[in-house]
């Protein structure tokens, strides 16, 4: 970024603080099935200021009677300035917006979109610290943007992903993650399944616990940057355990992502 002719003494604004656009009409240009209940939607945009991995977009739906629903979704696609963003949406049967996005919205349809927004839960490839990603369920989405961004970067810090899913079929981006690991560029991925695993499964089969973190996370002595994203209980448990392992709170960034509300 930068303004032509501006003094180089003025520190450049971080990309995450780029001016935020108002609402614009995004066009659905691609739909991809990730799992039986999860789809990736790609939207093309009239304008895009560029985004940093971990940022969000807001979607706004307006019904015929004027009722509006807004939702914030993590961007799944790698950072950059291409005016095409992908989000990955889990269909929740009782949800207000997700059934519309995953079942009714068709290619060529338009929807109101605002973004990119958010500068807290972000990672850019010029951060040389080891990158530790901890995902619970659909919390993988912003972390996948980070891994895709890393895969395109000239300098790639060592990175590890510990990804907790309920079962094998619900692992989002499973094949793509295998492909990223196969490039042998310093990324390792460990899966744990909390509600049953296939017979030939050689990953973990329990919730993330201190022993698992000791095995898969970078030790605090390597000063990693940790990103945790998933349901609230997952995020808070894992964050507390990383603190107990000696990681300063300042290098643990969290994002709670998952179904909200109470079961009645």
């Amino acid at each position: 970024m930068g303004i032509p002719g501006a003094s180089s003494v003025i520190p450049a604004m971080p990309e995450a603080s780029a001016p935020i656009l108002g609402w614009q009409l995004a066009t659905l240009t691609a739909i991809r099935d990730e799992t039986p209940s999860v789809k990736t939607l790609a939207f093309s945009l009239p304008q895009w200021a560029g985004h940093v991995a971990g940022q969000h977009i807001d979607l706004r739906l307006t019904s015929d009677d004027g009722y509006q629903a807004e939702r914030s979704y993590s961007i799944a696609s790698p950072s950059g300035h291409i005016p095409l963003v992908e989000i990955t949406v889990e269909r929740i049967a009782d949800g207000e917006v997700s059934p519309f996005l995953t079942e009714q919205l068709s290619l060529g349809d338009t929807i109101e979109l605002r973004g990119p927004v958010g500068g807290y839960f972000t990672w850019s490839a010029d951060n040389p610290a080891p990158l530790m990603l901890l995902a619970g369920g659909s919390g993988i989405v912003p972390l996948m943007s980070m891994l895709r961004t890393r895969a395109r970067a000239a300098n790639r810090p060592p990175a590890r992903l510990l990804y907790s899913s309920r079962n094998f079929e619900e692992i989002v981006y499973r094949g793509e993650l295998e492909g990223l690991v196969a490039t042998q560029d310093g990324l390792s991925v460990a899966h744990t399944l909390t509600r049953g695993a296939p017979a030939n499964w050689n990953g973990e089969t329990r919730r993330v616990d201190p022993e698992m973190l000791a095995k898969y996370a970078f030790p605090a002595t390597q000063a990693p940057q940790n990103f945790i994203c998933g349901p609230t209980a997952f995020v808070e448990t894992v964050a507390d355990r990383l603190v107990a392992l000696g990681h300063p709170e300042a290098v643990i960034k969290t994002e709670r992502f998952g179904p909200t509300g109470e079961r009645r």
Partner: protein, 92 residues
């Protein structure tokens, strides 16, 4: 009811509050008026939805911020935050 899987913390208010502040608010450090703990706004717990958002302290549950959207406008009640601090270069 169970609502959609989506962002459930202060990271979700970045868009609505972009109408209010000229900078990204999710990195702003909020000091809780009840327990004094400090947390980036993005890490606070979100209740409600983006039309009526309540952000609560992760430590003690105190309501730190309330934001209400109406007709394209937004109203912010920050009485639960003793202080809000913005460090332009920290929190990489």
């Amino acid at each position: 009811m169970i609502d959609d899987a989506r962002t459930a913390d202060g990271n979700a208010v970045a868009g609505p509050l972009s109408q209010f502040f000229a900078f990204d608010v999710t990195r702003m450090v909020v000091t809780c008026s009840a327990c004094g703990s400090e947390s980036p706004l993005g890490a606070l717990r979100l209740y409600g939805d983006t039309m009526g958002m309540v952000l609560r302290c992760v430590r003690c549950g105190e309501v730190n911020l309330r934001a209400l959207q109406f007709n394209g406008g937004i109203s912010l009640d920050a009485r639960g935050a003793t202080r809000m601090t913005f460090h332009p270069v920290n929190l990489r």
